[in-house]
């Protein structure tokens, strides 16, 4: 290094040393620069997520009714729920397990890194990547089901909730055998949509011609959604015929934004894991001889993604 005259230049050149960027004496908190900054990045990210989740809570509190999560998220692929009768929350629990397992494989990758075991790091990182991809696949299925099967969108929430006990009317506007209880949610089906809706309407006789507009037992709106009519058996609206309304609008937007934001974190995590796994394979980190610190840093990020899911899971699915 050339001798320099000014303090500034001296400072700049200090940072030129390969592999040891810190030139200010003892490292703060005895942590490397990269790890420290990863921690503070995660802290800021935690605030972003907390802001989203607290918004969800505030809007949920501000709404007289809210869709019941174990009704909304009772669907799953491969007919598992058909096999067990019903399987509320089972699919998302499986998703949580996937993320937990991928977190554990990441811990193993970091451990192998400390032992400078290149192949060990690589194998455990690849398993972690598969865990992340599996999670993303499940989320893709869940979104597809909500959007195309249940017609949820950013501004339309097809899940409403009853505020008292009561019973449904049939197509002719007469009392049917179908009853509901206070706090139970319902799904408003679209007429032309097949699939998910069929099982719910089985009790109505199969071949009913639905007509647009206000009918005795239901109301079909311009978009083809069938709002069924029901009567409350108690509460302040007792005895009055009601028409099913869409649920609180914010639900769809909150769900897609928050799980989407988390899913994007998982996606970028998978990308970074791929890049770093390639670097591991190329032997870059072995040459650095710093115990695979880069693997440790992406590990911090990956655990954080799991950590956020703990709270997304809590807020959206469990409460």
């Amino acid at each position: 290094m050339a001798t320099t005259d000014t303090a500034l230049e001296h400072h700049v050149h200090e940072h030129d040393h390969e592999g040891d960027a810190w030139g200010g004496g003892e490292a703060p908190f005895k942590a490397s620069y990269g790890k420290l900054m990863m921690w503070y990045f995660l802290l800021s990210d935690a605030f972003t997520f907390a802001g989203f989740l607290i918004t969800y809570g505030a809007l949920r509190f501000s709404s007289p009714t809210w869709p019941v999560p174990d009704f909304v998220f009772a669907t799953d692929p491969f007919g598992i729920s058909a096999f067990f009768g019903s399987a509320p929350l089972i699919f998302v629990t499986f998703m949580s397990f996937l993320l937990i397992i991928s977190s554990v494989t990441m811990v193993r990758a970091v451990q192998e890194g400390h032992r400078e075991n290149k192949n060990g790091v690589l194998i455990w990182m690849i398993l972690t990547i598969f865990g992340g991809l599996g999670f993303l696949g499940c989320q893709a299925w869940e979104w597809t089901n909500l959007i195309s099967g249940e017609n949820m969108s950013l501004t339309r929430n097809t899940f409403g909730t009853h505020t008292a006990d009561g019973y449904y009317l049939d197509h002719e506007g007469k009392k049917s055998a179908e009853t509901f209880r206070e706090g139970e949610s319902y799904l408003i089906h679209r007429h032309e949509a097949g699939g998910h809706g069929e099982s719910h309407e089985a009790g109505h006789g199969t071949a009913h011609e639905y007509k647009k507009g206000e009918q005795a037992g239901y109301m079909m709106d311009d978009q083809g959604f069938i709002h069924r009519k029901y009567v409350y058996a108690d509460g302040p609206l007792k005895g009055q015929t009601q028409t099913e309304q869409f649920g609180p609008r914010a639900f769809g937007a909150l769900f897609f934004f928050i799980t989407g934001f988390h899913g994007f974190h998982v996606f970028s995590g998978v990308m970074f894991l791929l890049i770093i796994a390639l670097n591991v394979a190329s032997g870059v980190y072995a040459a650095r001889k710093n115990g695979y610190e880069m693997v440790e840093k992406i590990g911090l990020y990956w655990h954080f993604v799991d950590l956020v899911w703990v709270f997304v899971f809590l807020v959206f699915y469990l409460l």
């Binding site: 809570g57 007289p64 174990d70 929350l89 554990v104 809590l314």
Partner: protein, 141 residues
């Protein structure tokens, strides 16, 4: 970084996996119990629901603690680093209380507006539009 031997830390990882999986399962069971899926009778009981909610939230916080301290190795970092990350999080305690309170106030206000809109309009008497606890100055014009 780790102060444990390689074999010990390998065993700890398996323990961690089992712990997280079991806690998650317990959470799901408590949640389903609170919603009345396991015993039909508890459906809609607000006290059961609130207790279950608090329990689940507590378990989630425990999971978060475990992930940060074990998996992210916060245990082995200097105390100052741990505090500089965790203490700012306490701000969220305020945020949760404040915004949930705020959400509740929106609901009350909306219900209040609905109730007032439903009331028949009485002929122009300015005082009747104000709530009874509003202080009014005497008009001395």
């Amino acid at each position: 970084m780790s102060h444990l031997s390689y074999e010990e830390s390998k065993k700890n990882v398996v323990k961690g996996l089992i712990l997280l999986a079991v806690v998650t399962l317990i959470e799901v069971v408590i949640s389903l119990f609170g919603k009345g899926h396991i015993i039909k009778g508890v459906h809609g009981n607000i006290i059961v629901l609130a207790t279950c909610g608090l329990l689940i939230a507590g378990l989630s916080l425990y999971k978060a603690y475990f992930i940060v301290y074990e998996f992210m190795h916060m245990k082995y970092e200097v105390k100052g680093l741990a505090m500089s990350v965790i203490l700012p999080m306490l701000l969220l305690v305020w945020a949760i209380i404040a915004f949930f309170q705020e959400g509740n106030a929106w609901k009350n206000r909306r219900e209040d507006v609905q109730k007032r809109n439903a009331q028949p309009i009485t002929p122009a008497q300015e005082g009747s539009l104000l709530s009874p606890d509003t202080y009014q100055m005497d008009w001395k014009g």
